[in-house]
Amino acid sequence: MLIPFFYLLRDGGVKTSITELLTLLEALQKGVAGQSVDDFYYLARTCLVKDESHLDRFDRIFAVYFNGVEDSFVDLLDDVPEEWLRSQVELLLSEEERAKIEALGGFEALMQALRQRLEEQEERHEGGNKWIGTAGTSPFGAYGYNPEGVRMGQQGSRNRSAVKVWDRREYRNLDDSIELGTRNIKVALRRLRKFAREGAADQLDLEDTIDKTARNAGLLDIRMVPERHNAVKVLLCLDVGGSMDDHVRVCEELFSAARSEFKHLEYFYFHNFVYESMWKDNRRRHAERIPTLDIIHKYGADYKLIFVGDATMSPYEIVYAGGSVEHWNEEPGAVWARRLLATYPKAIWLNPEPQHRWPHTPSVKLTREIMDERMFPLTVAGIDEGIKALH
């Protein structure tokens, strides 16, 4: 019965291997876990999950599998499993209750409020330990306003705890698909560092040469090491103002992380999209503009170009001359973006907007076309992908 569970885990994005499954079976055979389901859950978790950012996924899959709701699994893979909630709610509600929902403004309104509630709960959860639902005090209490709530009503009496351990989803804020936090940015930083040190062995390693010569009883043994290539050159172009205000904190974190990591980091600001000029000082953005052509001429093609922006604007701002909201641009932004990309073939676009919203914004689609689909979400996982694309 563990094999289908194993495949569900793999499909659900928990990287686990046969070795680990065998370890789990061995542990079960030796009686490490007692008779209780909780013990089994702990044991399975310690054997199969090796990354705290996957703990939440594991919890969700465990909950689904061991509740026998396998068919709703697919929907679970989405971050906010709205479809799943919907089916669960519909499944569990009586006609009468459904009528009550209608009275509250219909299903959409309920879902809206529900999503709000989930977000609130996530925030409060970060600080304290109030994740468990307060059924009964809210309009959703009776039928539960989150997966936990739904199941509490169903199985609360069957199980000794109101909400089972894996249903609490305590590891939610560690999932690497959420936006960067102070802790997470550090992990992302390591990835930038990894990509900053590479090269061929072409320098004399004095210390190792001495060591090896000593081992050789005084006969000279020359050792070479790769040149330290942490001098990766980066051009960082940041979108500021307007719709980017929501993402200021994340961008600041990325910016400060990148700044300490690269010796050659040049940054420029733009608004919404790149045009014929950018600026370095936000307070004097109108007075001190740097022509984009100067940037292209000044910085060599070995610079890697990273755009950071939500690419959320009117499509006119990209494709038409004079489309900019701030000034009259002689040439459309798309032309300037292509010019930059022609000079800097290694380029990516990091987007702080959640990825699932991208398809709904035409300007994002346009930008992705211009960038040859090298747009990545501004999350730890997204930066990881982006760094790969920069190689």
Binding site: K50, D51, E52, V165, E170, D211, A214, A217
Partner: protein, 285 residues
Amino acid sequence: MTDGKFTGTNTYVATEDLEVAVNAAVTLERPILIKGEPGTGKTQLAVEVSSSLGKPLFEWHIKSTTKAQQGLYEYDAVARLRDSQLGDDRVNDIANYIVRGKIWEAFESEEQPVLLIDEVDKADIEFPNDLLRELDRMEFYVYETQQLVSARHRPIIVITSNNEKELPDAFLRRCFFHYIKFPDKETMESIINVHFPGLKKSLLSEALNAFYRVREVPGLKKKPSTSELLDWIKLLVTEDIPPEALRTDDSRKLIPPLYGALLKNEQDVHLFEQLLFLDRRSGAQ
């Protein structure tokens, strides 16, 4: 505690999931990797496992310059070169210049030892890969003396990581994994009881309330953790702060006395001072 099961000790509170993970590692004789916020007792775990099971402890603390080889053995070539020039007789036997590392020591132990590899993420990114065979087969080869060293008793290996570097998959496959999450209030109470047995109930609950309030303040760079809380309570006890001083009904009155023990970052202290200032100003009106 003699039946070979780890259950926490009178100085360490282990949650149920941690117990299961440690016992799995002990039974299957595989390494266990511990991650978690700083100050949640990762390193302490190895000490407690060793004392709880009554086994000797070997500690190997990793620094950024540590090489995997240093845990096995080091060949002191420079000493040999010097000896050869001085005409020392020892020079003829290369074994005289092999210096044993922590892993070798643990492998040679008379009874099953506990081996702590602390902060494995501090080392070079290749470090864990260089230890794969050693952790898997519990043996290694000394090239200089052509000798195979294998463990007499497979040690219980506890590895801690602060997540500064990604660990390679091949390494992770060989370990059990446990993430020590931040303790909830109940667990925290029992942790404090273990450290301060005679603590007044009122002081305990007020201190805990204040502590979790501090943790909930948005925008803190480093949230205080268990070890900071323990330090703080120790201070409260020595300074004889009454529980009433910690109580507040006003959500804006966030600043507990002696907060220096909880906040380790000048920006966080500054944030608190600002809150204090705002609070005083609104109080004056």
